[in-house]
Symmetry: C2
């Protein structure tokens, strides 16, 4: 029950969308805090107890833990229970769960609503409002479970977009994992003695590098081939900029900056 | 009288620090807008008129125009008049002005308070509050003029830090020009069809790429050698991340992300 799980719980409770929101976690103190913050209506450190009568389980855990926890939850929950997740990569997770064969009603999800902040204390019931959630059914996914998961995200105020797990991972390698790796590289490239000479440009560009290194190591490693392909795309663009700089080619440099501005402006603030 | 000039004018007027704030610009309509917004107390499209009785001139123009406008202002202003600027690079500008020999009371300044937004309509009197202004005197700089310029920025609420023009350009290549080039490269590397799959990570990391391509082309070209050296630093860090990804080396990848996080955390939000 961290930033995302807590925000989902708060939205469910505020919008009265669930009879009960049971938080499952490792630390009882954290679950008490989540309850105080209105993120869950009950908490337990016992997964089996937590899912025993669940209609829907949302796994808000690092990508490496999604498949094993999905299997454990399915084992302890009722047969009609639907399971989804909020993991940042989908192909490896969905494949692991399908090959296990014991989680027939799993549907992969990825709400594009992260933050470099973590922890239930940053949760807010509006986190998902207007955000995009990518839902990643496969040919083996139960169609009714998929509709149920899509309805769930829609009711929380999010928009839903379907992609295959592979399509998702290829796109997110560019739109999420690449910015993260680049932000980390820019931050790391900055000598300590220059840190006081940074302004909003540096701060914006490197913001995501403050994210949890363990979480992000898992994310990029679980999407390694696409992350490397995205880095190659970045290298090409950096090489173009470098070549224009070396030649002192003002027209070309401005053209490249303008192409970038067009794409940035298309997304908005 | 754009974002920076307008913000400086608003602060001068609100804090009653100047008898008159004269905006000099090319378009009378823009000067009328600046006056309506409380950014100037009078406006003129005639530089000679604008500086005739000035104590201090602040050149808020693209870097390529600073040296020629400093010479023109010095020619038309009173002999004791001090001139400073807000340019993002300093060595080329300061050298050009010194070699001209006709602007004895010029002191280079760079307020680290930019934005991807431009125009006086985004000006605000608090833009400089708490920000760092790098002042770049050279051995030839008039000491009294330098103190006057430092006092000016301090009175606007900014902190002042002295660096030589070369030191400034070397540092800012890493803390400002590199993030800009990298942000542009990330935005340009993102295929059109993935733009709808971006979230706050992509938006933060690429935000500065929305900046004016002409301004930024001038900035990086006027600091070409240092910008290329900064790009080489980035390449080294990207290569480290890539190598760890290729090897699937989780420990090394996490170590690199952690080093980046430490630097990012040191700067704050």
């Amino acid at each position: 029950v961290g930033l995302l799980g807590g925000s989902i719980g708060q939205a469910l409770i505020r919008r009265r969308l669930a009879g009960q929101v049971v938080g499952v976690g490792r630390r009882a103190a954290a679950l008490r805090a989540a309850r105080r913050l209105g993120a869950i209506s009950a908490g337990t450190t016992d997964l089996a107890r937590g899912v025993r009568r669940a209609d829907l389980v949302v796994l808000c855990v690092p990508v490496d833990q999604i498949a094993p926890l999905a299997c454990a939850a399915a084992h302890h929950g009722p047969p009609q229970m639907v399971i989804t997740d909020v993991g940042s990569t989908k192909a490896a997770v969905c494949a692991a769960i399908e090959s296990a064969g014991s989680v027939p009603r799993f549907v992969g999800s990825h709400p594009l609503a992260g933050s470099e902040k973590t922890g239930v204390e940053h949760a807010r019931s509006t986190l998902l409002k207007g955000r995009l959630v990518v839902v990643t059914p496969t040919p083996a996914t139960d169609a009714a479970a998929c509709r149920e998961v899509e309805l769930f995200w829609t009711r929380l105020g999010a928009r839903v977009h379907r992609l295959s797990p592979a399509e998702h991972d290829q796109a997110l390698a560019v739109t999420s994992h690449l910015p993260h790796l680049a932000a980390a590289a820019i931050a790391a490239a900055t000598p300590e003695e220059y840190l006081t000479l940074t302004a909003s440009g540096w701060r914006d560009t490197t913001r995501v590098a403050a994210g949890d290194p363990t979480l992000w190591r898992q994310i990029v490693l679980s999407n390694r081939a696409h992350a490397l392909a995205a880095l190659a795309l970045l290298d090409e663009r950096l090489a173009e900029l470098r070549a224009a700089l070396v030649r002192g080619d003002a027209a070309r440099l401005e053209e490249l900056l303008n192409l970038a501005k067009c794409k940035r402006d298309a997304v908005g603030s």
